[in-house]
């Protein structure tokens, strides 16, 4: 029986946990105050030692990313990625709604570490309450001098601009996010150059996820060792897992890395609803390959074991599907999402995403043929490897994993299934 390991959710749950007064009373801004005396390099080292990995999906070591900034730079920007659009993920919104000051404190610490005077928080346009809360929290922080002209020390400003998106998933891609903030069309940029060299307004920029930054107060206050004591060696710390789908109790659960996935689903989320059997599970947001029930219950909630199973922990968006799920229609939903969200810049993704969605729809509605199924697989291979960003890879993951692992269901939908080889579901 596993339980939550509460670290980030510590102050949540009260009706006023989002206010400065409540947060402060519970210990907010103690850690950031410590950093005012520390040298930026010290803070960076702290974070490096903690082994903190990005929580936005890629899982890149945060401290290491900060060291990519060029030594002699005239300006640095921090962009907080609160675009949270990955299907199945809703943990950043929790932080924004219930403990925004945790984030702001993390922002202050990060700005100190990377010598940033101006941070931008990019929040997806669809967020209403989270936006209200973070804006109010920022106003409070400004009023209290925690943000503003001397927030980083005498004469050292830390400003926070909150920028709302306008409803594009692709703006969660870091360079598209930068373009959006700059007022341009939210289309990703070519990499290289990387944002740490050429980012917002052409300056060195770090983009971090909300949850990633929310971990910083603990690391600074309790130290890297305390942080490392939680979780696994390769994946230290806790994880906010957004569990949704066919479970009794969907919600955001904070667990230490390394707990069994089975425990997350059955102990914390109450198990598959109605006592049904688990059929499939997407571990880390729709862009990660789907796992069969057997595979899902063999992994732990950490980067390495999920990767070994052929998927990714990603953004922690855990979508549970029970035996009543038609996997073809599940893929149809996902494929149409990606077709809708492709920015349209480069040829393979723009054309391929629409094409793939159409073919899946064709198969799902019983009009697809064997040739269509083959086309689907070949297109999924064709769209990867030659694009400006990895959106097309993100689309290919669900397509390939669904078709491979649930092939029988796809074949059962085929119009010419008389010539196909396997039986009905």
């Amino acid at each position: 029986m596993i339980a939550e390991t509460i670290l980030l959710k510590a102050r949540m749950g009260n009706t006023d946990s989002h206010t400065l007064a409540s947060a402060r009373a519970a210990g907010a801004y103690r850690a950031s105050a410590k950093t005012l005396a520390a040298a930026p390099e010290e803070i960076v080292q702290l974070v490096k030692d903690s082994g903190l990995r990005g929580r936005g999906g890629a899982g890149f070591p945060t401290g290491l990313k900060w060291t990519f900034l060029p030594k002699n730079r005239d300006a640095t920007y921090l962009c907080v990625n609160a675009d949270e659009s990955e299907p199945g993920t809703f943990k950043d919104r929790l932080i924004l709604e219930e403990d925004p000051h945790l984030l702001i404190e993390g922002i202050v610490i990060a700005c100190r570490a990377i010598r940033c005077a101006h941070a931008y928080l990019y929040i997806r346009g669809e967020f209403c309450l989270p936006h209200e809360r973070i804006r109010a929290a920022a106003d409070e922080a400004y009023a209290a001098g925690l943000l503003g002209p001397n927030a980083g020390g005498p004469g050292q400003a830390i400003d926070l601009t909150i920028h709302r998106g306008a409803g594009a998933y692709i703006c969660g891609e870091e360079t598209a996010l930068l373009n959006s903030i700059e007022g341009k069309k939210g289309q990703p940029r070519m990499k290289p150059p990387f944002p740490t060299n050429v980012g917002l307004f052409g300056k060195p920029t770090v983009i971090n996820n909300v949850e990633t930054l929310a971990n910083l107060p603990f690391i600074v206050e309790k130290g890297p060792d305390a942080y490392r004591a939680i979780g696994t060696e390769k994946s230290p710390g806790t994880r906010l897992m957004s569990v949704s789908g066919h479970v009794e109790r969907p919600g955001v659960y904070e667990v230490a890395h390394g707990v069994p996935m089975r425990g997350l689903i059955e102990d914390l989320a109450g198990g598959v609803r109605g006592g049904r059997k688990l059929k499939a599970l997407i571990p880390g947001g729709s862009s990660t390959p789907v796992l069969t029930a057997e595979e899902a219950y063999a992994v732990n909630v950490d980067f390495e074991s999920v990767q070994a199973a052929g998927s990714m922990l990603g953004s922690g968006g855990c979508i549970v599907m029970d035996e009543t799920t038609d996997m073809v229609w599940a893929l149809d939903k996902l494929a149409h999402f990606y077709a809708h969200e492709s920015c349209g810049q480069c040829t393979p993704c723009r054309e391929g995403s629409g094409w793939i969605a159409e073919i899946v729809r064709k198969i799902a509605t019983g009009k697809g043929t064997r040739a269509d199924l083959e086309k689907l697989e070949s297109l999924a291979a064709q769209i990867v490897g030659n694009t400006i960003c990895v959106f097309s890879d993100a689309l290919a993951m669900p397509v390939v994993s669904h078709v491979t692992k649930f092939r029988a269901e796809f074949e059962a939908h085929l119009a010419d299934r008389a010539s196909s080889s396997s039986a009905a579901p």
């Binding site: 692709i170 070519m190 349209g344 480069c346 040829t347 629409g354 159409e358 030659n386 694009t387």
Partner: protein, 503 residues
Amino acid sequence: MAKFTLNGVEREVPDGINLIEAALLSKVRIPHYCYHPGLSPEGNCRMCVVEIEGIPKLQTACTTLVADGMVVETESEKVIQERTEVMEFLLRNHPIDCPICDQAGECGLQKYYMEHGLHDSRVAVEEKILKRKRVDLGPLVVLDSERCILCSRCVRFCDEVAGVRELVLANRGGRSEITTFPGRTLENPYSGNVVDICPVGALTSKDFRFKVRVWFLKTADSICPGCERGCNIYLEQYQNEVQRIRPRANPDVNRWWICDDGRLDYKWINRDRLLRAEGEAGTHPPERADEEAARMLKEASSVLLVASPRSSNENLFALKRFRDAALPRAALVGGSFRKPWEEDRILKRPDRNPNRKGMELLGLSGDLEGALRTGPECVLVVENDLLGDRPELADLLRGKKLIALASNRDATAEAAALRIPVCTYAETEGSWTNFEGRTQAFRPVLKAVGESRPVFRVLEGIARALEASLAWSDFETLRAETFQAAPALGGLARTSGGGAHAL
């Protein structure tokens, strides 16, 4: 310089250029759509990908600068495979329009399908996304969204070269479309260039659509006579009529562009032409016309020869020699009353004549109005529509015997007692010197219309009738003498080149 290996062969190229340009220097063509040397690179079409040693993912050649020691493969199996896949994606939603599309014959998709595609189609026509097909973007350009491959060259052109934000990529994903910003139209003075740079038939010119298939056109390298910039152009004709003008790349003069005024300034070549010599007594065959002109000039007590900054250097030189040989006491002044334009910072120069500088360097500029006011009895006007440019001169010219050597029935020709047809710049050879002193040659694309002759041949004829000796065996001889007499003209400048603008 940078040394890099291209397809197994070491090459040395200038630093700081992208791989498409670097490969072109070695005569290796890397296919591309969205890249254009006159615009910032975007790398969105994915057609120019190449394999670079040490980098697992294929890289776009347009955004990758050549570096010392780089090892590049443009024809590896992976690259060839990728190109075919990109072609398939580009064609997925492309309408089956070739029979009605103007671009056919100069279309990037047709060309690259044969070179890099040759795949079977996997798309039924009913599956293709339908978009707007005949969108009026502005005074000159029509958009067909279905044909558009969203390379965004047109958007970048308006932003970066024309300096206006008129076009934008609207919507997202497969529903992306080029459109004008709300409330705006594509009406900047360089809008026609987007038609040239569009690799497919998405953007077409209202002036040219459905006129003629491009493979019927015969092309000649020419120069625009619209102003003293001397933009390099292609003149294209069918059935001895100019059908369209396109820019010709010249990195030193007009780069890859021309203004819309210059682009559309060809209809006068085909219309209202003076086909035969006409005098008060009726029409004259050429020899008769020359004799009539000679008679008028000989009988006059005072003669003014009017030169024009629209004439070629060679014709101007011939006019000079004509005066010296046949009418030594005649005055010879060149000038123009054409109202200047507003100069813009892109290409347009205020003086709307192509050869003001050449005329100057040949010593023919002067006070034309003053010369007219001295009251010559007979005025021979060569390629200069004085009355059309300044109708008030009608009073000044009343009572004078006017001989006009003109290509069109302009106001001056109609008012003349004798008008002799001459060839336009589209029908003869010649050179003009632009405002920078760059002398550029133009070549004929049409056969002479009607009975028009090159100016220098008419002058030869009149001289002969005046019993003066003036003759050039061929145009090359005239040109050689012209440049010898006026070394300041500098000889012919190079008028070609400009990077990978042709796909």
